[in-house]
């Protein structure tokens, strides 16, 4: 504007500043000389004084070849292109101006020009109205995230948006973070790669991202079209007394998940320790519906199912034995666990293969930005975890190891046999995570564990897991992503039994599991979220040879043979939001199973018990020849009816099929238990579960509560004949009976996951009844009548609480009450001749005494200084504070003329442990 006009007004009115008036003339011939030089020349020729700021003309060169032109036009030419202007003030001042001055308006103020003026009132400095001054206040501004092309404007169709939620400090994905859109009330939860996918109409939204242990991130989301966005969440030390409902509880209300328990490591870390270690499996046993046989037991029983009905995945690697030291510790180093979920009700279609539950553990990804390390020692073991970037922001690693040195403890035992014993374990895991770009995510994981135990000179065990997985997650488009997983796992054990020299034997066993899964996640429209894919598992079992041990053993070697099988499944599910208050999960998994040769199969007489005596003939199947085939659909469906923002009601129906089971004649899993594939004779167990649940959250109190009722009916469940031995013959069908199992229960849970006091109370009433009705009484158990299963515990109450006095002192405790396990007790004892005979009541009609235990711990953290190399934590724990003898089992021995009952308990005294954990960095480092 100001450059557009020449000063026409000036020309009209100014006598003294008109550029061309009464002008001095100048002639010169200059070639690229400094402006100062030009000035010198002009001044000497015209007598006009030049005024200018020397810095303005420092780089200005003048080339001028003119003859008698006005000084003004000479200056104009000299300044050409410099953006500068000049003002000649008659008669003798030439003033250079850095820029052209604005237009001068003045003639409207004369009498003649008055009509040109525009009447306008000034803006007043202050509002004179009123008596008092106005006070002001600062405002808050939110960050805006733009999704899609801003230039293109808002698209008309729904936009599929995908966000990647990362921890800004480590670059690791945040799993299970909640994204909540304030305007629509809709939300999403980030998956195992920290991605959250949503479909929404384009527009502007206020969005909140929250996750336990992270600072809640509020922002404005401007959605234009399909696209990706990234959210960096800042890990936060959660306010010690802040009460909030995050993640899991949001999911309780809004998702169709039924019978799912989730624990994030930040909540696991607050639990009381046992032997100085956090242990996810141990903590899972405190959740409703999950029980175990007691101390030192390996397996878990989920909703009345046997221990072999659960599968444990760590980064998709199946682990067939999840314990160290007979279950005193679990095989997972909790330092590497990031997220832990248990599906005990409705299992998503991409998982299958077990009747009762899926335990899914996702490990941390290595820190992409800096090195981390954790270490700890406890009376029995030491552990070390370290991770960090190999290529910053692209490639990271995480390795973790644990080893025991528990022999000194055994040396303190009273039992001379235990003093002679030794035990040990180690586990190792390593992970590599590669993020080549925003669209791909490749991770490799390796896991290995090993345990050994020598019980005096009576027996020796050794077992181990080994496995690895490779996962490639690829974002095909904002709406479609794929995950391809290859996993291999093997489990083996060897066992030497030498109590009786004449019967001493040794046995080695190995199971190989190879799995390939392709999963696709597709968001085709706003109300749908489709998952589909295929899953293929190859099982190879080398059941080993039972060989005599030592020269004096009289045993004949028995080759238990090999089992090979292939399980293949296709799955498809859709999560449909029908109305904001009604959503449906409809899924189908179709699985098939083939047992493959080579295999020798016996045929037995029709309708007769399968014994050596009823063998008709033997058929030999060639290599890869299919000797049995089973298939069937597994329907998984769930319905969520939201009864408000804080309440929901859910129904679910879930079918499961299982193609391998465990041969076990002990109550708990023992290292010698063998996995066995279902075969020509043994049908795959199947199950169906109906669950209904009612969920409510009290956000102001930070409480969430749930009630779930389930009924489970399972068929072809395997039980074993009394006194069955699995190492005497390769023909398992002679020792196995199949029946049906009914389980039902009610589970109550009240949880507070934040605040100074947190924890949960859970109560479960449940029954688990078996019925094995064979062709005759010999082929039945309990005469074919229903009987409580070995793990039937009607009442279970768990109370877990933590109280944070402040950040550095935490008290925690848990209380466990369980009904005693069923057992079969003798009814009478009689003598025939010198022999004692014992008559028993019906199977599992009696119970061992109830189980009750209180643990307590105090954790003392190091100081909260920021700049320090190490942060350490002391934990003082008492396990079984009351020193109660909780019987594991009871047994009877005949005395004079009665039976003397004994109960056996594993730990009958309080066990006090001190653990010291240390990590690189400060209190908040992970």
């Amino acid at each position: 504007m100001r450059y557009q006009f020449l000063i026409s007004v000036l020309i009209a009115f100014l006598g003294m500043t008109v550029k061309s008036q009464d002008v001095p003339l100048i002639s010169c011939n200059l070639n690229r000389v400094d402006f100062a030089k030009f000035v010198e020349l002009a001044e000497s020729e015209t007598g006009v004084t030049f005024y200018y700021q020397p810095e303005w003309v420092e780089s200005l060169k003048v080339s001028l070849d003119v003859d008698k032109i006005t000084l003004s036009s000479a200056v104009e030419k000299a300044l050409l292109g410099s953006g500068m202007d000049y003002r000649f003030i008659y008669p003798d001042r030439m003033i250079i101006l850095q820029e052209r001055p604005p237009v001068l308006y003045v003639n409207h103020l004369t009498k003649n020009g008055a009509s040109q003026g525009i009447q306008e009132v000034n803006t007043r400095e202050s509002d004179g109205d009123g008596q008092y001054m106005e006070a002001s206040r600062p405002e808050q501004i939110l960050q805006t995230i733009v999704v899609g092309e801003r230039e293109a404007g808002f698209s008309r169709t729904a936009a599929r948006i995908r966000g990647r939620i990362r921890d800004v400090d480590s670059g690791e994905p945040v799993i299970g973070a909640t994204m909540l859109v304030t305007e629509t009330g809709k939300g999403g939860i980030s998956d195992q790669n920290g991605t959250v996918t949503m479909s929404m109409p384009p527009g502007q939204y206020r969005v909140q991202f929250s996750f336990i242990g992270m600072e809640t991130f509020n922002c404005r989301l401007e959605v234009h079209s399909d696209g990706d966005f990234r959210v960096d969440m800042q890990s936060a030390v959660i306010a010690i007394n802040e009460v909030q409902i995050v993640g899991n509880h949001y999911r309780d209300i809004n998702s169709t998940d039924v019978g799912v328990e989730r624990l994030s490591m930040s909540s696991v870390k607050q639990m009381p320790l046992f032997m100085g270690e956090n242990d996810v499996i141990k903590i899972s046993k405190l959740l409703p519906g999950i029980t175990s046989a007691g101390e030192a037991s390996v397996g878990v029983n989920v909703r009345g199912g046997s221990a072999d009905q659960n599968i444990f995945y760590i980064n998709r690697v199946p682990i067939y034995n999840t314990s160290h030291m007979f279950g005193f510790l679990s095989a997972f180093n909790s330092d590497i666990v990031q997220d832990f979920s248990v599906y005990k009700g409705n299992v998503p279609v991409n998982y299958g293969g077990r009747l009762s539950s899926v335990f899914n553990i996702v490990t941390r990804k290595g820190n992409l930005k800096r090195y981390t390390a954790h270490a700890g020692i406890s009376p029995v073991s030491a552990h070390l975890t370290t991770g960090g970037p190999i290529i910053k922001e692209k490639l990271s690693f995480l390795v973790s190891g644990r080893t025991s040195y528990s022999d000194w403890m055994l040396k303190q035992m009273e039992d001379p046999l235990l003093r002679e014993s030794n035990a040990g374990f180690y586990d190792f895991s390593g992970a590599l995570n590669f993020f080549p770009n925003e669209k791909n995510d490749i991770s490799a994981f390796y896991y290995q564990s090993s345990d050994r135990f020598a019980y005096g000179d009576i027996s020796e065990y050794a077992y181990g897991n080994r496995g690895g997985s490779l996962v490639w997650k690829h974002m095909i488009s904002p709406a479609l992503s794929s995950t391809i997983t290859g996993a291999m796992a093997s489990y083996d054990f060897s066992n030497v039994e030498k109590q009786e020299i004449s019967n001493a034997y040794q046995h080695t066993y190995q199971l190989n599991h190879t799995e390939l899964v392709a999963e696709f996640n597709w968001v085709p429209a706003m109300n749908h979220r489709i998952e589909f894919g295929a899953d293929m598992v190859y099982y190879g079992l080398d059941r080993g040879v039972v060989e005599p041990y030592g020269e004096q053993s009289l045993r004949t070697p028995v080759d238990l043979g090999n089992d090979r099988g292939v399980e293949a499944s296709l799955f498809l599910s859709d999560n449909i939001t029908i109305f904001p208050w009604l959503s449906l999960y409809a899924g189908l998994r179709y699985s098939s199973y083939s047992m493959l040769g080579p295999k020798m199969v016996r045929n037995y007489e029709e309708g007769e018990p399968k014994t050596e005596a009823t063998v008709v003939d033997t058929v030999y199947y060639d290599n890869n020849e299919q000797l049995s085939f089973h298939s069937g659909p597994e329907i998984r469906a769930a319905l969520n009816v939201k009864l408000g923002q804080q309440t929901s009601f859910k129904l679910s129906f879930s079918q499961m099929r299982q193609y391998l089971f465990m041969l076990s004649n002990t109550v708990t899993i023992s290292p010698t238990d063998q996995w066995k594939l279902s075969d020509y004779h043994i049908l795959p167990p199947t199950g169906v579960q109906y669950t209904t649940g009612f969920y409510h959250i009290w956000p102001s109190l930070g409480l969430s509560g749930s009630v779930e009722v389930y009924y489970k009916k399972m068929e072809n469940v395997v039980d074993f004949k009394d006194g069955a031995s699995f190492i005497g013959s390769p023909f398992t069908e002679t020792a196995v009976l199949q029946g049906e199992q009914n389980a039902y229960g009610l589970e109550l849970m009240l949880q507070k996951s934040s605040g100074r006091l947190n924890g949960w109370i859970s109560y479960a009433y449940s029954r688990s009844l078996m019925q094995v009705k064979g062709v005759d009484e010999n082929q039945s158990i309990n005469r074919g009548d229903p009987y409580p299963s070995n793990y039937d515990r009607p009442h279970v109450l768990n109370v877990i609480w933590n109280y944070k006095l402040n950040r550095r002192f935490t008290f925690s405790s848990n209380v466990v009450y369980m009904s005693g396990r069923p057992n079969t007790s003798p009814a009478s004892l009689y003598y025939i001749g010198d022999y004692v005979y014992i008559d028993y009541y019906a199977k599992n009609q009696a119970r061992v005494p109830d189980y009750f235990r209180i643990d307590a711990s105090i954790t003392i953290e190091g100081n909260l200084k920021r700049d320090k190399k190490f942060h350490s934590t002391w934990s003082f724990n008492v396990y079984n504070l009351l020193g109660r003898n909780n019987p594991q089992s009871t047994f009877y021995e005949p005395a004079e003329n009665y039976l003397k009952g004994y109960s056996f308990s594993v730990i009958g005294v309080p066990i006090f442990t001190v653990a010291w954990n240390v990590k690189l960095g400060n209190y908040e480092s992970n």
Binding site: M16, Q53, D129
Partner: protein, 551 residues
């Protein structure tokens, strides 16, 4: 006690006022009568002793406003007032509309008389950047009478003057003055292009109201003051004896505290200073009820109408304006060298309490989510208590007073009452805590120690200020300028285009005294005049003009 002082003041004022007779129209003089938008007006206010409302004993602040004829203020400023009067400069807004304006001057004590008794002087202001003109309503009857000053020729004759020098461009001129009268003279002196300083109309004070002492108009006997009232938000009733805090926001750390009086009114005299300050004032009565706080307007908002006059220029005016404009443009493009930058590296910022006993540097610790946790986890000197659902902070220490008195709680030296708002501050914004764990006594208020939350940016961390507090921008003194005389430009290539060659607001001559004054001409040739105006000690106004030509 306070009431007694008022009564005494009232008696004193009434007595002195009763004796005073409205004298000559006088008050404000300026360096010119014609200005461009964006220029500075240099002024001098004479205190001839006639106007008792300007008694410097009672008034230390002179309020000056640039207003249009209808009384709307465009510029408001405060200047220190002493026995000789006041002087200084104000800048005309560059977006002002061309028109005839007035300067309005008064003291707080004069406000009892109403705007008719204030001092006014007419100014012509031209905005060369716009075609807008100030509308005038000739129908409106003025409430203030304006006239040309009555010049006492006799007094002028007793002032001997002599101007000597080369009368060349960029040369020094010497003005010799000598007072041959038997009374002292108080003068101001202006040297401008001839025509830029014409006789200006000044007001003739009218005393329309009978004076009365009101609570609101407490004389400013020490400096710029701020006053207001506190009331209960619920029913609007006055909140007496509330503790009132006043703090400056920004680099200057000032903290004042006092109690409101029985009528809920509070009054503070602000420490000496110039420019504008952000103030935060808050009040509290032991956590009782939400309070509302009102701050009185510092400038008089009583309506006033001055004679409306249209701005019509003739050709000679236009010529002058063009010269002014050219000079202004040159000045704008050749800015005077910026004054040497103040040392930005300040010493460790010190608050009024000096060295704190304990400093908790947030950087030393991990990030904690709330400020409360910083107190509970890493600051053993402070405990957070919950009393009736309200959180309270207590300083722990060996002095028993710490248990009885609430501590002084501040954010960046800004005192606040609302502990919840303090605890809601994001710890990210905070640099440190400073803690004094000894009782702190300020006037009649005792504090159980001091807790100061110092933010990283010194911006109070966007604290959610409570309704019982007010954040206001308050004017302290404007720029006091006694003299401009120009000097030789250091570089011969830099033009000198001052529109006012010489201004001296403070020139007093005792009887028989002579003075030599030196000033510099600028690059411009033409006709100038030195105008000497002032009063003798008898209160007679006189003028003397010395024309000269530069060629």
């Amino acid at each position: 006690m306070r009431a007694l002082i008022y009564i005494c003041l009232f008696c004193f004022v009434s007595l002195t006022w009763a004796q005073s007779v409205p004298g000559n129209p006088h008050g404000i003089l300026c360096d010119r009568s014609l200005y461009l938008a964006g220029e500075h007006v240099y002024f001098r206010v004479f205190n001839t002793g006639e106007q008792k409302y300007m008694d410097p004993q009672l008034n230390k602040v002179y309020y000056l406003e640039l207003i249009s004829w209808d009384g709307s203020p465009l510029v408001q400023a405060k200047f220190p007032l002493d026995s000789t009067g006041s002087r200084g400069t104000i800048r005309i807004p560059s977006d002002i509309t061309s028109g005839i304006y007035y300067l309005k001057g008064y003291t707080k004590w004069m406000r009892q008389e109403g705007p008719e008794a204030y001092n006014y002087i007419e100014l012509t202001i031209v905005n060369t950047g716009s075609k807008k003109v100030l509308p005038v309503d000739m129908e409106q009857e003025a409430t203030v009478k304006m006239d040309y000053p009555d010049i006492q020729a006799a007094a002028s004759g007793l002032l001997q003057t002599d101007l000597s020098g080369d009368f060349d461009r960029r040369s020094a001129l010497t003005l010799s003055l000598s007072n041959t009268s038997p009374v002292a003279m108080d003068l101001s002196l202006s040297t401008v292009n001839r025509g830029l300083l014409e006789q200006q109309r000044v007001s003739i004070p009218l005393f329309s109201r009978s004076p009365g002492v009101t609570d609101e108009l407490i004389p400013e006997t020490r400096g710029v003051s701020i006053s207001g009232k506190i009331q209960y938000a619920e029913d609007g009733s006055a909140a007496p004896y509330a503790l009132v805090y006043l703090s400056y926001i920004g680099s200057e750390i000032i903290f004042l505290c006092n109690y409101s009086d029985s009528a809920g009114r509070f009054y503070f005299t602000l420490p000496e200073g110039s420019g504008e300050r952000e103030l935060f004032i808050s009040a509290d009565i032991d956590g009782k009820g939400p309070l509302e706080l009102f701050v009185d307007l510092d400038f008089c908002s009583d309506p006033v109408i001055l004679p409306a006059k249209a701005l019509i220029l003739d050709s000679s005016d236009i010529k002058l304006i063009e010269t002014l404009w050219i000079n202004a443009q040159i000045q704008q493009q050749y800015p005077k060298e910026a004054p040497a930058k103040q040392k930005t590296e300040k010493d460790q910022e010190r608050f009024f309490y000096g060295e704190p006993h304990k400093i908790i540097l947030f950087n030393d610790f991990i990030r904690l989510p709330t400020l409360e946790e910083y107190f509970t986890e890493v600051t053993p000197e402070v405990s957070v208590k919950r009393v009736n659902r309200q959180k309270k902070l207590l300083v722990q220490g060996s002095h028993p007073e710490l248990d009885f008195y609430a501590p002084l709680i501040m954010v960046d030296g800004v005192a606040i009452f609302d502990v919840d708002a303090l605890l809601a501050i994001s710890p990210r914004a905070v640099d440190r805590f400073e803690i004094i764990n000894e009782p702190y006594i300020r006037g009649n208020v005792t504090f159980g120690g001091i807790i100061n939350v110092v933010t990283k940016k010194g911006d109070l961390a966007s604290i959610d200020l409570p309704t019982s507090g007010s954040l206001i921008t308050y004017k302290l003194f404007g720029k006091v300028q006694h003299k401009i005389s120009g000097d030789k430009p250091e570089h011969r290539r830099i033009p000198d285009s001052r529109n006012t060659l010489f201004w001296n607001a403070d020139l007093s001559l005792d009887p028989g005294e002579s003075k030599d004054l030196e000033f510099f001409t600028n690059d411009q040739e033409g006709n100038f005049q030195v105008l000497i105006r002032g009063y003798d000690m008898n209160g007679n106004y006189f003028e003397k003009s010395i024309p000269f030509t530069v060629d």
